[in-house]
């Protein structure tokens, strides 16, 4: 799976999870809090309505007063259907064109056995919510609530209110119920002992939905407890919550869709540099080591691109070094073959002449000299190659030595040669201690002096001097033929000879300075050449001075 897809997948998952979880808690909290608020409102309203009913019920206890239960404006003639006897209504009506203004006043002592349902029906009209009155065993005395299930009132203790949500096709409601008392008075005072209810409530007469007890039902069995139930409409809140949920889901889809689109763009943006790196790495794998990335920004991708470029540079350098080394090896082998071939050709040619022809003594001597001479060259060549091989080691044991004594010792061994060659030699060495491998340093200095002799010098100086900054400089200066500036960079290559004819004549193989350079490297130094054609050459090399340490030890 591509990184783009992984980022997209993970991002979508996290986004969806975050929205789902936060949305769930938001909606859950909203649902619960709104329902809790509705419950609180319903309970408050219930308590208020309960007080209203209790107030109105007072005259039906032994509270010796008369109260108006209902008052209002009815249709003309409406009240004519109401009986004054035996219900005991005191009806006063004032006729008018718009209707009769009526009031119903009920005397407690006049309550008869048929009037209970109508009484509670009138009470229900005073209540602001649809209401029901039930006997203790759940039998409705009056119910303005359709399909009322009273099971939530089961075993309801005194001093408790019960509530239950209900859903009907008409909407969602909250039923609140509790036991009705009458201002601390027992309802046993109600004159309904033994009465049977077959009276339709006033609400039913008005066409409202209501239920009454079946004919013959004995309400007296209810004792003195009555349940009062109201129905609080929560449809609006439920609808609002549903709208909120739908709105959230729409927002969810919009946000997640937008988030996915952004994730796609972000993934593409993030993976684009990686793709470029991948392509660049592919091109490098195919040999294009000059491939580089454009670095933009200082973020991780930028750092990666920078590291990639550094790696590409290092690889390019390494590959170039390896190529150069391979080229040098090829050159070495070619030079070596060439250097071998020249003396071998001479040796084979003169040996053939000696074998094929009858030569005079002088010609035999000459041929033999050539064979000896080329053999000497081959020997020198093999010795130098052996030295180069030996110098490939790195475990030389450097020892502290007195530089002046070392140089004097080396020069002393060469003074007969200088005298033989007629070279004026001068040695000036300051005393100091340097850390060297004696034989190697001697080989190095002898090679340098030999090169000067081969350059045809007449004056040769070997000096050793402390530079003052903890280093000791050995310098070989001659007045030989010198070299061109451009040749200086190549004179330490193996088999490189400035003047091949002169060098071969002197049994040179072009390996002396290569050896010297390798030895200087072993001592942590390097050869520095200064030369001028026809004037002479100066070679310097620096060694670390250990004089101070020696003194401390002393």
């Amino acid at each position: 799976m591509r990184l783009f897809t992984k980022i997209f997948l993970c991002g979508t998952f996290v986004l969806s999870l975050a929205f789902s979880v936060s949305g769930y808690f938001l909606l859950h909290f909203s649902w619960e809090s709104s329902m809790a608020r509705e419950t609180e409102f319903a309970l408050k309203q219930y308590q208020y309505d309960k007080f209203t009913v209790q107030s109105a019920l007072l005259p039906y206890t032994d509270f010796d007063m008369t109260f108006v239960i209902a008052e209002g404006f009815g249709e003309p003639g409406q009240l004519t259907t109401w009986r004054e006897e035996p219900l005991g209504y005191t009806i006063s009506s004032e006729g008018g064109e718009e209707g009769n203004a009526w009031s119903v006043k009920r005397a407690a002592k006049l309550l008869s056995e048929d009037s209970a349902v109508e009484l509670f029906g009138l009470l229900a009209e005073d209540v602001s919510l649809p209401a029901a009155f039930l006997t203790e065993d759940g039998m409705p005395i009056y119910s303005g609530i359709e399909g009322l299930d009273t099971s939530f009132l089961d075993e309801l203790a005194e001093g408790s209110h019960a509530y239950r949500f209900r859903e009907t096709p008409e909407g969602s409601f909250l039923l609140v119920g509790g036991m009705l008392e009458c201002g601390g008075l027992s309802l046993a005072g109600l004159a309904w002992d033994g009465m049977e209810t077959d009276v339709h409530s006033a609400a039913e007469q008005d066409g409202g939905c209501c239920e009454t007890a079946d004919k013959g039902q004995d309400i007296a069995a209810a004792g003195d407890r009555i349940y009062f139930v109201t129905q609080w409409d929560v449809s609006k809140t439920v609808k609002q919550q549903e709208i909120l949920q739908q709105y959230f889901l729409r927002c969810y889809f919009a946000a997640v869709s937008a988030g996915m689109a952004l994730l796609g763009l972000l993934s593409a943006f993030l993976t684009a540099p990686l793709k470029r790196m991948s392509r660049a790495a592919g091109r490098m794998a195919q040999g294009d080591y000059e491939e580089r990335l454009a670095i933009s920004g200082r973020d991780e991708i930028g750092e990666l691109a920078e590291s990639f470029n550094r790696m590409a540079g290092a690889v390019e350098e390494k590959v170039e070094a390896l190529s150069r080394a391979a080229r040098e090896k090829e050159d070495f082998v070619a030079n070596f073959a060439h250097e071998m071939k020249t003396p071998m050709t001479s040796i084979i040619g003169y040996a053939d002449i000696l074998y094929q022809k009858d030569l005079s003594r002088k010609e035999v001597r000459d041929a033999s000299w050539y064979i000896w001479n080329e053999g000497m060259r081959l020997e020198a060549l093999s010795l130098k190659l052996m030295d180069l091989t030996v110098l490939g080691r790195t475990d030389f044991d450097l020892q502290e030595m007195a530089a002046d004594e070392l140089l004097a010792d080396i020069a002393g061994g060469l003074e007969p040669l200088f005298a033989e060659k007629g070279i004026s030699f001068e040695l000036s060495a300051e005393p100091a201690y340097i850390r060297v491998e004696y034989d190697l340093l001697k080989t190095l200095v002898v090679n340098l002096l030999d090169n000067s002799i081969k350059a045809g010098c007449t004056r040769l100086e070997l000096s050793g001097k402390e530079t003052g900054d903890g280093e000791y400089r050995i310098c070989v200066r001659d007045n030989g033929c010198g070299m061109e500036e451009e040749e200086l960079s190549r004179i330490t290559e193996a088999f490189y000879m400035v003047d091949k004819a002169r060098s071969r004549k002197q049994h040179g193989a072009g390996l002396g300075l290569a050896l010297a350079d390798r030895i200087a490297g072993i001592h942590g130094s390097r050869l520095e050449f200064q030369s001028k054609k026809g004037v002479g050459t100066e070679v310097k090399l620096l060694f670390s001075c250990v004089k101070a340490e020696m003194e401390d030890e002393e």
Binding site: T12, S16, Y24, M65
Partner: protein, 287 residues
Amino acid sequence: MRNKRILLNLCGIVLALTIAFGGAFTLGSRMDAERRELLSGGGRVEIPTRTDQTVSQSVGVVDVELKETGLTKEELRQAVLCMEEASEKYAHEPMQGQLLMTEAIQSGMAWTRDFFLAHIDRNAEIPEECRLSCYLWAGGNGEAKDEEPDPLLGYWEVSFSAQDLEAVLILNAVTGQVLQARIALPYVGEERPDEDSLVRLLKDYADSFGMETSLAISVAQEWEAGNPASGAIDPGEEIQGGWGFRQRLENDQMSVCLEAGDAVSAQARLTNSGEVLHFALYLETRH
């Protein structure tokens, strides 16, 4: 290989889409289930009520005296302050120590008959037929409170109305002391109460709380038609003229006020409700 990779990426994208839209579906399903669960549930609420139900069953005689042990000065101030600051009213059942509904009604009626009507020289009887409304409330400021309310800070609001009397009384739920009364009396063909009886009414009202007061405001005047009404009738309603009386007694913490007037609003005239005397007798805290 390439086809397999493309297929894998396509599967990843399809999985992402499934997660995105599946999350919405899961959320919707979960919320629907919770909604169903919530709307099929219910609960019960224990109502802290007065456990002493041994009130007399023979309370037919409405002659309850005001309780001798009224509120202390600080309790009275707190009760009035709480009533003034109540932005919401929470109806609740009588708690331990609070009056029952019948007791509150009896107290209110007794006060109206024996104290108020007696002071203004009206026939000292409550009409036999009247419309009654009564509820007990505690004040709140819209913030839910966990602790049970102080019974002393509960109020019975007793309203009764008949042809000859309309009264709205606010009683302290523990002592039955009337903290505020707004009473309207028709006075067709009768004399207005004289100012001396009104002054005595206010003084006795203050004395009933044990308040030592001094006179702060006393105004009696005739209003001209068109002035905005105040006090006993709806503020801001244009009046048709009339008489008004206003007196305030106060001490360093509380004041007690009586506003009376016979101002008749244009609305009242339209409904032909006649001349009405309005009384507002109430306690106030001094901030």
